[in-house]
């Protein structure tokens, strides 16, 4: 497996020199129709930490990741990433966050190489760099032999590898992974573990939701267990859970949840 290259976004200086917490959420809640996927999550994750997000299905792991990635807006609550208000400036956050979701986000009718080059262009690479960066990422995730095949012909595991390749092309300061090991073979899971190690080594903050507690715990500084859309417990260092603020229903448009 060729040496994996990791690109890192420039670090934002905190107000007093120390880097702001990578992730600072305040009572994050999100409803889908009548069910509360998240009912109030207050977490503070220090920059550079690797955090494992554990919990049964429907505990809110995916919803939390999608909110952190600015893919969906929370119904209530506040979110700061690298000290930037994510709800007001999602466009800034999107230059710093790389998000691996269940869906690959690739186009079936395009080949792996075409998909990755498109992603590289979208992620800020230009000119000749696009091809070199994209092809190297494809090689690193072991898809070089099928680089010119259409993604429509790929298995779930191959699509997951391609999505991982897109993470390598991004220049994140925060990486969000939603069950990265799922659908991967032994070799693929090894790739994920190595990436977790590299991101940690390069000081990139990682939040990884997974059911592979053993694999993920090896690389994680802290684990956060979610249950029923709330933080059940936090272990390890670098992560603190805020007090669960009582929800005060009021007539006002905005809802005030005191800290």
């Amino acid at each position: 497996m060729p040496q994996t290259t990791i690109y890192v976004a420039p670090r934002l200086g905190g107000a007093h020199g120390s880097p702001p917490p990578a992730v600072d959420t305040d009572g994050l809640a999100r409803l889908f129709g009548r069910s509360a996927a998240l009912a109030g999550v207050s977490l503070r994750i220090e920059a550079g930490r690797t955090v494992a997000l554990l919990g049964p299905n429907g505990a809110g792991k995916t919803t939390l990741l999608r909110i952190l990635a600015t893919a969906i807006r929370p119904s209530f609550g506040g979110l700061f990433i690298d000290g930037v208000d994510a709800l007001r400036h999602p466009e800034i956050i999107r230059t710093r966050v790389a998000y691996l979701s269940h869906a690959s986000g690739m186009y079936d009718d395009l080949t792996a190489a075409e998909n990755l080059r498109f992603a590289a262009t979208m992620l800020g690479w230009s000119g000749s760099e696009v091809a070199t960066v994209a092809d190297r990422a494809i090689a690193e995730v072991g898809l070089a032999p099928v680089a010119d095949d259409r993604v429509g012909t790929f298995s779930a595991g191959m699509r997951k590898r391609l999505a991982l390749a897109r993470l390598l092309v991004a220049r994140p300061s925060l990486v969000l992974l939603d069950e990265p090991h799922a659908a991967l073979d032994e070799d693929g899971m090894g790739l994920v573990d190595r990436l977790l190690g590299l991101w940690h080594e390069f000081g990139i903050t990682v939040v990884v939701a997974s059911h592979q507690a053993d694999r993920v715990n090896r690389a994680a500084d802290a684990t956060v267990r979610l249950h029923g859309g709330l933080v059940a417990d936090v272990t390890g260092n670098g992560v603190r859970a805020g007090a669960l603020a009582p929800v005060i229903p009021t007539q006002a448009a905005a809802v005030r949840t005191s800290r």
Partner: protein, 229 residues
Amino acid sequence: MSALRRHATIALAIARKDALAELRGRQAVGSTIFFAALVLLLFGFALGPDSGRLAEAAPGLLWLAIVFGGLLTVARLHQMEADDGALEQLALYPVDRRAVYAGKALAGAGAMLLLGGLLFPVVAILYGVPLGAAWLPLAVTVVLGSVGFAAVGTAYAGLTVRMRAREVMLPLLMLPIVAPLLLAAVKATVAAVAGDPFGELGAWLQLLVGFDIVMLIAGAATYGFLLED
């Protein structure tokens, strides 16, 4: 690299991606053109064998076929995004939303041009309308019509792609908006085919240009809101 060049790169990358997927995609382009030609054939049955009437109605019927074919085209261009979370990924890329809109609108206009261009010979044959003579004004009309339709269609397809009952909502929202475009395009086509006896071709083309500019600006300004969750 200047911001404008960056936007152009992104728009072109998106348009190229859409064109690539279109050409490779299970002959979706061909089936839409076939559908529009079929609509023209049915109009022939509807308006009866009297070729005089058909020739007179030809411009109107042509543009109706282009509009219905266009609805399928812009819907398809966005449906391919929704297949495997690509639309959400597109919204997460750190790129200017106006560039994304420009790229999608460019691809849409290209597909519409292809559709319109191929339907002209069908109309010439089916309805016996001599289109050859006025090919330049007709070409300009088709280009302006395609750009206008794609400008509105890209915004509305983006708006409705994840909605329930989107097959109904896209035409329902779009058709009233493109009514002036249809009207101007048909009148311009009629004038062009007849050699512009009343000299009103210029006026209709100006209306089309006005429509295109207004809708491109509105689409670019609002597409970002449509991509948001």
